[in-house]
Structure formats: C-alpha cells, structure tokens
C-alpha cells in the first residue's frame, strides 16, 4: 500500500507557478530525499502534502495519504500521530513559554496519549539520548540554535508518527549530531515513510533510498541515492556535489601581525548571559580586513561573544577595546535565522529603501550588488514570509554590504543555505573583508568551511 501518493501536485502564488506539477509514490518502508538549492520549492512540496501552505499560496493536483485521498481537515486529524512535519525553524515551532522538558512531556502525554509517569520516563530517555539535559529547563529563547533544533525534532517525533516529512532536519547541527538525527529518523520511519528535504548532500547519502534533485520548482534528476550521487547526470547535480566545502579552492591565508593596528582587542574577557558566565579568559585582537573563525560546541557562547563585541551586552569581566571614532552602524551582525531577523510587515524593497534613505546611501550600487548576490527585483516585491531562508539571508547580506561595515559578526550565516549558496555567501564574506577592509568573524559548526575561509580560528570551550 502506498502511504504517500501525489498526482500532478503543483503550488502557485496567484498565477506564478512555484512548484512544477510533481507525481510521486512512496510505499511502506521507502525513503526519499529531495535535494536542491534554497528557494527551489522543496519546502512547499512538504507543506502541500501536509496541508499547511500559507494562505497566499494554493495547490492543485491530488494528494493521497495512507491509500486514500484526504481533504484538508482529514489530513489535520492525522497530524502528529500518523503524519508529522519536522519543522524548519525551531523558534517558530516551539512554544515560547514552556521549558524544553515540559514541552516534550506534554507531547508524550497529549499527542502520544501516555500516562504521566510513562511520559516522564520517555522524556528523560529522549533528553539523555539527544544530549539535551543541559537545556532541559530552558525556554526556547534561552537555548542555542542547535539545541532548539534538536528539541523541535524530538517533540515532532514524540507523537510516534511513522510517516515523517523532515524539512532541513539537520540545519544548524554539527556533524556528529547530524549523523545521530539522521539515524533516529531512519529508525522511526522504518515501518513508514521518510521524506527528507535537504540541501546537504551528505544527509542524502546517509539517508539512502531514492533521491530527487530540484531547482526552481523543477525536477531535474531522480533515481537511487547511490546512483545519483556517485554518477550525477545533470550539471546542476554535479555542481551541488562539488560544492562540498572539502572540495573548495583555498585562497592564501593572510597573516596580520599582532602589533598592527587593531580594530577590536579583548583582554581577559569573560562573556555570559545574565548571571551565567559562558567563556572566560579570552585574549585576542581582530584587525581590519581579517577573517577570523569562531568554533565551539553548540551552546558554548559563540553568539554571546558576538553580542559582547558589538556592545549589545556588557562583558562579565575583562576589557573589550573597540577602535574609536567609527559610527555605530558600521558594526554589523549577520544572523543565524534570517526569518527572525527582518520585519515581515512590508515587502523587502521597502526595507531596503528605508535603509538607503536613513543613511543617504548610494542607491546606484544596489543593482550590481543584487546581481552579485543573485537577488532579483521581483523577489524584493515579496515580504520576508514569502521568500526562502537562503534568499532572505542574501537579502540581509545586501543590506549589510550597503552599510560598508568595518566589523561583521556572522553568526552561522550559512547553516540554512545549500552548498552552492554557502560557497558563494562565504566567499562574499571573504571578499567583503579583503575589498572593504572589514573585519569578519565567522561562526560555523562546519570545520571544513572554517578551514577554507578563515585566516585564524578562535576555539571556544567552556
């Protein structure tokens, strides 16, 4: 019996086709990975199958689940227990008021229907298994990105559904945790169906089963994972596979002598949130034009270090010396989650115009920058909710580039991007440093990316 079957399923925004009509069938025990660049309509497919497309979009074609055609309300009844969508943005998926532990326990109680004591036992098991004990009593706003992602995944799987739609499930996770999550997904979907949407070739390889490669809502290539990934036919698939950081060309590193003029220098710096100190004893200097990598376990204080250097929160102890006489808007930050970092109330071009007017920026440089970032004019007419994470991140970068920053703290800026875009965006950050003499601090969980892009690395450990 097929568990998921779509017939000519297509998604439209008004008259614009965002996802080309697509037919696929998944039987019990099958796994399918949809591989492609951000903005290629992959997430829309999962939402169309679930039945939770946003109201400005509509879909055509037929969706059959568990062997029957289901209306929207019938599909809603399956949510959680039989059919689950692992959400892309943990911040939007978790309750902002509950601790991770209570949230997970409530899912076991109310969705799975376990008794109080059984729910508690299962919750503790999951927390241990996903190494979440440290964050168990924190709310989502107190968790680091990687932890929030793991909490969201655990909650989504707690309902016991065997048909899993996973939308970028490994985003923001380091490699060992990514492998663990993929293993968990495969185990839970052993008797069901696993449909994974990802831009990470390694995830596709681990998941196995079938692979579909998509670009701009069009299906390019389809087949068994081992065949497609070892002997790709389509040029785009080849580009996607060769965009793995391990295969990037490495430009020569630049060495900045310690005694040359520093943009920021930290002495015996301890940073932390609230009363809790996260990292202590930091001594480093950052020079104009330098690319400094920041690495460390998830939740070890990488983002907090950035906020301290930008002056958003005071240091716990120690000193941060920032070069004097530079106006505040030249110190910028690129966020991990672009959807949370811009206003959703107005179209993107309005936000851009706001910025140009505020600082009397040179608007004539905008088209060239947009071309370089791969942003189109029509894209800017949409609001932040209507574009993909990758497109939005490039829009954020556009705004920052226009401000000609002297210092940019890039907090895992590529964790939501596909390999091709990751290579381009991270290269843009290096170009920004070299061309404009801007100091860039790049946070990433991917050691290869740091290796290929940074002049120097700061290792944080608790």
């Amino acid at each position: 019996m097929h568990l998921i079957k779509t017939t000519d399923l297509a998604v439209y925004a008004g008259n614009v086709e965002l996802l080309q009509p697509l037919s696929l069938t998944l039987n019990k025990g099958e796994r399918l990975t949809i591989l492609g660049q951000t903005g290629s309509g992959k997430s829309l497919l999962a939402q169309a199958i679930m039945g939770n497309l946003s109201e400005s979009l509509h879909c055509e074609g037929n969706v059959e689940l568990f062997g029957k055609s289901r209306s929207l309300s019938e599909r809603k009844a399956l949510w959680g227990r039989q059919l689950t969508l692992l959400p892309q943005e943990p911040w939007n998926a978790l309750s902002p008021l509950m601790t991770a532990r209570n949230q997970l326990k409530e899912t076991y109680r109310l969705v799975r229907g376990l008794a109080e004591s059984a729910a508690r036992t299962r919750t503790e098991e999951d927390l241990n298994q996903f190494e979440l004990q440290a964050g168990a009593d924190k709310r989502v706003d107190q968790l680091s990105g990687g932890m929030a992602q793991r909490v969201a995944i655990t909650c989504a799987m707690a309902g016991g559904a065997q048909v899993l739609l996973a939308d970028e499930p490994t985003k923001g996770l380091d490699i060992s945790r990514r492998d663990h999550v993929v293993g968990q997904l495969k185990a839970q979907a052993a008797d069901g169906v696993l449909l994974t949407i990802t831009h990470d070739v390694a995830v596709a390889r681990q998941t196995g089963g079938r692979v579909m490669v998509m670009k701009d809502g069009v299906l390019l290539e389809e087949g068994l994972a081992e065949d497609v990934l070892s002997t790709p036919q389509h040029p785009y698939t080849r580009a996607l596979i060769s965009a793995d950081p391990a295969k990037w060309w490495q430009p020569p590193r630049q060495v900045f002598p310690e005694d040359s003029e520093a943009l920021i220098s930290a002495r015996q710096l301890t940073v932390g949130r609230g009363d809790q100190a996260l990292v202590s004893g930091l001594n480093f200097t950052v020079h104009p034009g330098e690319v400094v990598g920041v690495v460390g376990d998830s939740g070890c204080g990488k983002s907090t270090l950035g906020d301290t250097l930008l002056g958003l929160i005071p240091p716990h102890s120690g000193l941060v010396d920032r070069q004097k006489g530079i106006s505040a808007h030249h110190w910028q930050k690129l966020y991990q989650d672009p959807t949370a970092a811009v206003s959703h109330a107005v179209p993107l071009n309005v936000l851009l115009t706001d910025l140009v007017q505020l600082h009397n920026l040179d608007a004539t440089s905008v088209p060239a920058l947009m071309a370089r970032l791969g942003l189109s004019e029509t894209l800017l007419q949409r609001t932040a909710s209507e574009v993909s994470g990758g497109e939005l991140q490039r829009f954020c970068l556009l705004r920052i580039l226009l401000l000609k920053p002297v210092f940019l703290f890039a907090d895992e800026p590529t964790s939501r991007l596909d390999p091709v875009t990751t290579r381009e965006v991270s290269q843009l950050l290096v170009d920004l440093a070299r061309e404009q003499g801007c100091a860039v601090m790049l946070v990433s969980h991917d050691p290869m990316l740091i290796e290929k892009r940074c002049d120097r690395v700061i290792q944080l450990s608790a």
Binding site: E55, S73, P96, D141, L310, L312, S327, A328, H329, W331, Q332, K333, Y335, D337, A340, A341, V342, S343, H344, A345, V346, L351, D354, L355, L358, H359, C396, R399, L403
Partner: protein, 267 residues
Amino acid sequence: MRERTLMNARGLGLLLLTVLCVYSFGTSFLFAGDGNSQNLNHILSIPNAEFLLGTDHFGRNMWLRLADALQLSLFLALACVLTSVVTGVILGVLAATRGGWIDRLIDMLVTLIMALPGLVLVMIFASIAPGSLLVLYIAIALIQWVEYFRLTRAVIQRVDTSPAVESSRLMGFGLWYLFRRHYWPVLAPQLLTLAAFGAANAVLMMASLGFVYVGIQPPTAELGQMIVELFPYYQEAPWLLAQPLLALALLVLAFHLCGRRGADAPD
C-alpha cells in the same frame, strides 16, 4: 469553515455598526424638528406615519430622541477609545523600551487606577460635575488607557528582544521606525480587538451612569437615562421602553462582533 464564520461575525458587526451610524447621523439631516421639543397633545402615542417610533410621556419624538442618544454614545465611544489607545500605546512603548524609573512610575500609576473598581471611579468624577460630557469622557478614558498600556507593554517587551529589532537598531534605525515596522504590525490586530470591547464598555458605562441619574442630565437624550425615564410606563407603552434597551443591546453587540479575531490572527 471556522475561518468563514469568523469573517462573517466581524462583517456582521461592521454592518450593524454602519446601520446604527447611518440611522443616528442621517436622521439629523433628513428629519426636521428636534428630540427635545415637547408636544403634550401627543403623549405615549404608538408608532405611526408622523412619529415613526411613537412619542414619550412628554410627547417627544422617539425617532429623533433615539438618534440623538445613539449619536452621543457613538461619539463618546470613539473619543474614549482614541484617547486611551493613543495614551496607552505611547506610555506602553516608553515603559517597554526605556524601562527603569519610567516603567516603575507608570506601573505605580496603573496599579493605583486598577485598585479601584472602574465604574466607582467614573461615578466619583461624574458626581463632582454632574451632567458634564467632558468630565465623563475624561473619567472613562482615564480608566480605559490602562488596558491598552498593559497590552502594549507586554507585546513590545517580547518583540523588543527579537533579532529583527536588534538588527534594525544596529543599522541605526530610531524608535519611530521600530514602532512602524516592528511593533505596530504585531500590536495592531490585538489592539483592534481590545478597542472594540473598549468602545462597548464606554457605551455601557455612560448608560449605567445615566440609569442612576449621575450621567448626562435631562433633557439631553441619553440611552441609560431614557431607560429609567420610560420605566414607569412599561405597562401602558412597552414599545417605548424596548427602544432604548434594544438600541443599547444592538450597539454593544455590534462592537463585540467587530472585536472577534480575524482569520489571519493566531489562536
């Protein structure tokens, strides 16, 4: 399904409100005479071609009087809501973004106002200057801004810590920009709901004061006071007592229906 019924509820509320507005404001243009002139030859007459809703115990034209009373209620509701929304939102933004002593000072003021039952406070004001519409308006607005303040402060404290606001601050945008692009879009749908209930409350409050004779004084037509004036004649002329009661109920219902959440609002 569910979304459709919600849309209809709000639509029905707006329709009802429009009908009441057209009746009360249209009457002053389309009908001659005024609601206060007495005609003792026609007292307690049943509705007819000349007096569409009949006349009261002084022979006053009920159609005109009811329109006047509704006009007064609508005007007061609008004025109270506007004043308290503006005050509440401005102080709420200040308290949430500035914090410190401003926050504590406003919080103390709010606690003081909330410690007293609203209607009692309005009655104290009304009995100081009986019959003054201005004092009534000040008193109602004074107790209503607290609600908008508390909502605004709670919402903005949350939005204020989001990466989006932090990013806009880093880019150099000021408070007014943050308000337009970040605070207001989140706040507006919730304020609209609260404002609709606030308008209904203002109308009810004025009617309550009229009913206990400390509100607007005779001969000005006012719903609560009309109810108490016509009360002794409920046996001879029940249709007269029913009119201000029905008008009041419809007006409050219209506001409450308008305050139902739209389909786009989160649960």
